[in-house]
């Protein structure tokens, strides 16, 4: 009917293509990918067959098949509406999540309060091109928002939008550029994980047991090997698979970590969310000059704490301290003057205007660093024996995590001076504008506050009253 194209010059307008729903995640309502339904049904059916199947097979195979079909349709009847009614979307700078079928729940999360954002891709989800988005909040173990089975591109865009809102920018703002910070070579990871006293001892013991088994054909030797293999799986293979291909980069949105062999993870820790950091140097790693950096982030509580706290699994010592300076800007952890406690257990602490630093450990050296404005409470304590010896302990309380900062076994007067110095520095550092919400729009305000604070310090006069002097 229509004349051929080009006969009259202008081609007929192309019908507008349906817009890609993933292009703009800041409006509209989203739900998980439909693949979550067959995955859930498959999971429930497999669990049913594995648990109840052996009992049912006594009645005949037909029963197993019939009941498995019943379970398939039953779980389908639940999973389908649950998928349809479970939706989420961004409303201004709030994330609204609806979930549940019988017990409907609707959560509205102010994104300025988020503590960390992770995109996790387990192996099965990578096959289907899916990902899970986790928004960590400070409320503890049950407070993380987990959006499962999203298309990977949607998850990535949503992560960018969530972080933009948290930074106080509009949701369509492009992702902040990043600068490479550290890429962990696989050989260094392998070597460092192997070159630890417990791992080397376990390997030697395992070899001895296997040799004993081969030479004497004694099955008891294998029984002894089982706990060793389990331990090596947990503490050697686990970190090796988790931190393969580790890449850390820094941006104005905070630290970005990408790692994992079978489970790819992309972790974003916004600025100011790190409550404390510790640098761990086991005995043999000190010979290699490498260290591990772990952090306390208020969102990573409970079970997720163990596999989310490492900021650098293995890194040269210099890079480790460079990261500490990156996380706590305007400070220099290595320059804080340390004072030893001259006790039986070496434990040196130091404090300056920004940081509290403690170095302890005889074999495995642990350096713990807490910014003074992050201290929740300070405690000076002395037990009955310590009272007789006139010694005290100063505890710096921070949210739960791998870091526990304290100064043990100090002279009474020295401990009190340390406490007073911490209180004084903390009071100056805790200005109201030093909050961490909406960091992008705060940048100018923060600059003002820094200058005014410096002026305030000048008017207050010199203060060299450190407990060490």
């Amino acid at each position: 009917m229509l004349p051929p194209n080009g006969a009259w010059g202008a081609p007929p307008p192309v019908p507008p293509r349906r817009p890609d729903p993933a292009a703009d995640v800041t409006t509209g309502i989203f739900r998980s990918h439909w693949l979550i339904i067959p995955l859930q049904v498959l999971g429930v059916t497999l669990v049913f067959v594995a648990l109840v199947g052996p009992i049912l097979s006594q009645f005949g195979l037909a029963w197993v098949i019939v009941l498995a079909f019943a379970v398939v349709f039953g779980s389908l009847a639940y999973a389908l509406p649950a998928w349809w009614y479970g939706s989420f979307g961004l409303r201004e700078d709030h994330l609204v999540v609806h979930s549940g079928l019988f017990l409907r729940s609707s959560r509205e999360i102010p994104l300025s309060r988020l503590q960390a954002v992770d995109v996790v891709r387990p192996l099965l989800m990578q096959v289907f091109g899916l990902a899970e988005l986790r928004v960590e909040l400070a409320g503890g173990d049950g407070s993380a928002i987990r959006l499962r089975c999203l298309r990977w591109r949607v998850a990535e865009r949503l992560r960018v939008a969530v972080l933009a809102h948290a930074a106080g920018l509009p949701g369509r703002a492009p992702e902040a550029p990043e600068w490479p910070f550290y890429r962990l070579p696989f050989l260094l990871l392998l070597g460092a994980l192997t070159f630890r006293v417990p791992v080397l001892l376990s390997f030697v013991l395992l070899l001895l047991l296997l040799t004993a088994f081969v030479v004497f054909l004694e099955p008891g030797a294998l029984a002894g090997a089982v706990p060793l293999v389990l331990g090596l799986l947990r503490y050697y293979w686990g970190p090796l698979a988790r931190y393969t291909d580790f890449y850390a980069s820094s941006s104005s949105d905070g630290l970005r970590l990408r790692y994992g062999m079978f489970q790819r993870r992309m972790q974003t820790v916004p600025p100011g969310r790190v409550q404390a950091v510790r640098v761990v140097e086991p005995l043999l790693w000190r010979a290699l000059g490498v260290a591990r950096v772990e952090a306390t982030v208020a969102g990573y509580a409970g079970a997720r704490q163990a596999d989310s706290t490492a900021l650098l699994p293995v890194a040269p010592r210099g890079r480790a301290f460079a990261l500490v300076n990156e996380v706590f800007p305007e400070s220099e952890a290595a320059l804080v003057p340390l004072v030893d406690n001259r006790g039986p257990l070496p434990h040196a602490v130091g404090v300056d205007e920004r940081l509290f630093v403690s170095v302890r450990g005889f074999l495995c050296r642990v350096t713990e660093i807490v910014p003074v404005e992050r201290m929740q409470a300070l405690r000076l304590s002395a037990g009955p024996i310590a009272q007789l010896r006139r010694r005290v302990t100063v505890d710096v309380d921070i949210p739960p995590g791998p870091v526990s900062a304290r100064a043990t076994d100090r002279n009474a007067g020295e401990g009190r001076r340390l406490l007073d110095a911490l209180v004084e520095y903390g009071r100056r550092a805790r200005v109201p504008s030093a909050g961490t919400e909406r960091w992008a729009t705060r940048a100018t305000m923060h600059g003002d506050s820094v200058t005014s604070r410096n002026e305030g310090e000048k008017t207050e006069g010199p203060n060299g009253d450190t407990p060490e002097s």
Partner: protein, 163 residues
């Protein structure tokens, strides 16, 4: 040692009333009575009256010691409100001094159990984001406790700097 646990600056500790000592005496007295009576009865019924008397005397001595220590315990409690922090001291065997900045307080509440209500005292409890620090001011008269809570809550709002 006392200098290390002294009040900040030139302020002095605000001490809590003697009612706290009586609270402590009543609780420890009731516990000692229950433990002593039950143990002595059990030993007496199992046919060892000598051991029963020894047990009763030992518990009595413990009760007297705790009774005398209750006064020291009550006198060890004290708090001071600085311009930006709450200072708190307590403990006889385990002496403690706790400093909580107002800006770090997440929840401030007043509680009073039945015995505390009968004695007219209450406990002000302060929670921070750190789970290790359980900071509280015990044995305050109810009116003072409510006033302290209101002051702390207002200041935690003024000094708030996020987590």
């Amino acid at each position: 040692m006392d200098a290390a646990f002294a009040a900040p600056g030139d302020t002095d500790w605000t001490r809590v009333p003697v009612a706290l000592a009586w609270y402590r005496r009543l609780v420890t007295g009731a516990c000692c009575l229950a433990v002593g009576a039950a143990g002595a009865l059990f030993l007496f019924l199992s046919g060892r009256p000598g051991a029963a008397v020894t047990w009763a005397v030992a518990v009595l001595v413990a009760a007297v010691v705790l009774w005398l220590l209750a006064g020291r315990f009550q006198r060890s409690w004290g708090y001071a409100e600085e311009s930006a922090e709450l200072y708190l001291t307590y403990g006889v065997l385990m002496r403690q001094l706790v400093v909580v900045p107002y800006g770090r307080m997440q929840v401030v509440d007043v509680t009073a159990d039945l015995l505390e209500q009968a004695l007219g005292i209450a406990t002000v409890r302060v929670r921070t984001a750190a789970s290790t620090a359980d900071t509280r001011v015990v044995g305050l008269p109810l009116a003072d406790a409510v006033q302290l809570r209101d002051r702390l809550a207002a200041r935690s709002e003024t000094f708030s700097t996020g987590l």
